[in-house]
Amino acid sequence: MNTIKLKSTVAHICLIIASLFFIIPFLWMLSTSLKPITQVFSFPPEWIPKPFQWSNFKDAIEEIPFWTYLSNTVVITIISTLGAVLSCPLVAYSFAKLQWKGRNVLFGLTLAVMMIPGQVTMIPLFLLFNKIGWVGTPLPLIVPSFFGIPLYIFLLRQFFLGLPDSLRDAAKIDGASEWRIYWQIMLPLAKSAVLSVGLFQLMASWTDFIGPLLYLTNETSYTLSLGLQQFQSAKGSEWNLMMAVSTIMTLPIIVLFFFLQKKFIEGITFSGIKG
């Protein structure tokens, strides 16, 4: 009994020490967001705002059309995340568990397209969207995710490869269709991986700057990351306000992560089907 207690104490101590290292940037952001401007650049840095200036948050929100940008961002983020979560596991499953001609070549290509830096494909891609008349609409920011994203396809493929084939074979003998095996058996088993993909795409879409910059032309359809940039150029010197905006921007993801993370360990052991 005692050893268990000791173990958990040691674990806590290790975790707390490591946490300190990781929480610094966030604490700094939070503390700066509450400081008066005169305290922001004091050197050496002070951690406790004096006094706490809560009005920073109000000022920050009022500087840009916050609520418009927020709702635009939410819509784009949700749809593109849905797209990624629907398409990527399907394709990944096909790469991992189904036998078909050309599979390995296609998988090789999937990896290959990630090796070309986005900076050189950005312009041709823009011209493509321009040609089909999507520039000025949010479509270039959401539609591609419904057709799969190589990064996540590769990730999910790794997870599907780790699932035992015996499950599939058993279902096959029962006469289940490929679609049913995927949707009702394999997909639930990869839940934790699919959730992480959802989280990553959500973050990527939420913070994406260059996409909205290039494709959105109407100020009423701008997203928060463009707002942040706009804010930075207006109040770039007022770091306390900058950090207040940044805090507001990251808060939803933090809350979401807090609730999602439990699912990551649930994985196979809780899904009720054991290999």
Binding site: F22, P25, F26, S94, R103, I116, F147, E178
Partner: protein, 314 residues
């Protein structure tokens, strides 16, 4: 049970569940069908831009002007470009040190965060936080922490009698500083490892328990081997990411790569060429050289993976 479900799938209009005749053909058909969204996506949103960039690499394309076809001139010019080699050196330095470190730390952290301890939700969230803080804010914070005179890091070193270096201002220490900063943001990799750990079937551990295996044995004979598919993923993506490192050094140095170009990374230089000097053809040639480098490394990793990656399913 099985029979009723079969009946339903027969009546369903879903083309994917058309009654099978020959398993072989049907198998392939399902695979293609499942992958079809991506096949379309790959062709539309990836293949076209990638192929265009290959073509551009043989031209003097400037984004604003189509330019002329000049064959391999961009490639041969690159060989004589001093900064090109310097940026390769910097990038390789970063990748060689950062990728292994990120895997070691990432796995260790994930295992720590996978313990059954109270309050784990909070710890996990904390470890994930640095990936959420905007890059600009991170850059400024780091400049303060690593400030040679007043920074927290040198302050602490001072206490134990070490006079710290100039960190970002020193040619020797600028890249290690950057590696240090990047390790801070491994939250995403940790999430992937956590998901991987969650997918290891409890049966293995139960069996190990019966055999009386200790922590060390469980870690090295069960956890790590079964985590290899995910480690493999992070290794490949880590290499790709490290070679395409751009945002952090670019914001840190405002694009200048100072001191003495020690923070000029491959893609920073590529970006300058493409967007600042209007040499997109040249930048595209750089992109394709990068492609070849990463491709070779990835092939090596894939080739070696047969020896060290274990899939539960097999």
């Amino acid at each position: 049970m099985a029979r009723t479900e079969k009946a339903i799938s027969k009546t369903s209009v879903n083309p994917r569940s058309v009654p099978k005749k020959k398993t072989k053909i049907k198998k392939g058909y399902a695979g293609w069908l499942f992958a079809s969204p991506w096949i379309i996506g790959l062709l539309l949103f990836y293949a076209l831009p990638v192929v265009s960039s290959l073509y551009f690499s043989f031209t003097t394309y400037s984004i604003l002007q189509p330019g002329d076809f000049i064959g391999f001139k961009n490639y041969s010019d690159l060989i004589h470009d001093h900064l090109f080699w310097k940026s390769i050196g910097n990038t390789v330095y970063f990748a060689v040190i950062f990728v292994p470190l990120s895997i070691i730390f990432g796995v260790a952290l994930a295992m720590m965060l996978n313990m059954r301890v109270k309050g784990m939700s909070i710890y996990r969230t904390v470890f994930f936080l640095p990936t959420l803080v905007p890059q600009v804010a991170l850059a400024v914070l780091w400049m303060w922490l690593l400030n040679p005179g007043f920074g927290l890091v040198n302050g602490m070193l001072d206490k134990i009698g070490i006079s710290g270096p100039a960190w970002l201002g020193s040619e020797t220490w600028s890249k290690p500083s950057l590696i240090f900063m990047s390790l801070w943001g491994i939250g995403q990799a940790v999430v992937i490892y956590l998901a991987g750990l969650g997918d290891i079937s409890n049966e293995y551990y139960e069996a190990a328990e019966v055999d009386g295996a200790n922590w060390f044995q469980r870690t090295f004979y069960i956890t790590l081997p079964l985590l290899t598919p995910v480690i493999f993923y992070n290794l490949v993506m880590g290499v790709i990411g490290a070679f395409q490192q751009f945002t952090l050094p670019y914001t840190l140095t405002q694009g200048s790569g100072k001191p003495n170009n020690s923070l000029t990374f491959y893609v920073s230089y590529l970006y300058d060429n493409g967007f600042k000097y209007f040499k997109m053809g040249y930048a595209s040639a750089m992109a394709w050289i990068l492609f070849i480098i990463i491709m070779i490394l990835t092939l090596l990793i894939f080739w070696s993976s047969k020896r060290w990656v274990h899939y539960q399913g097999k």
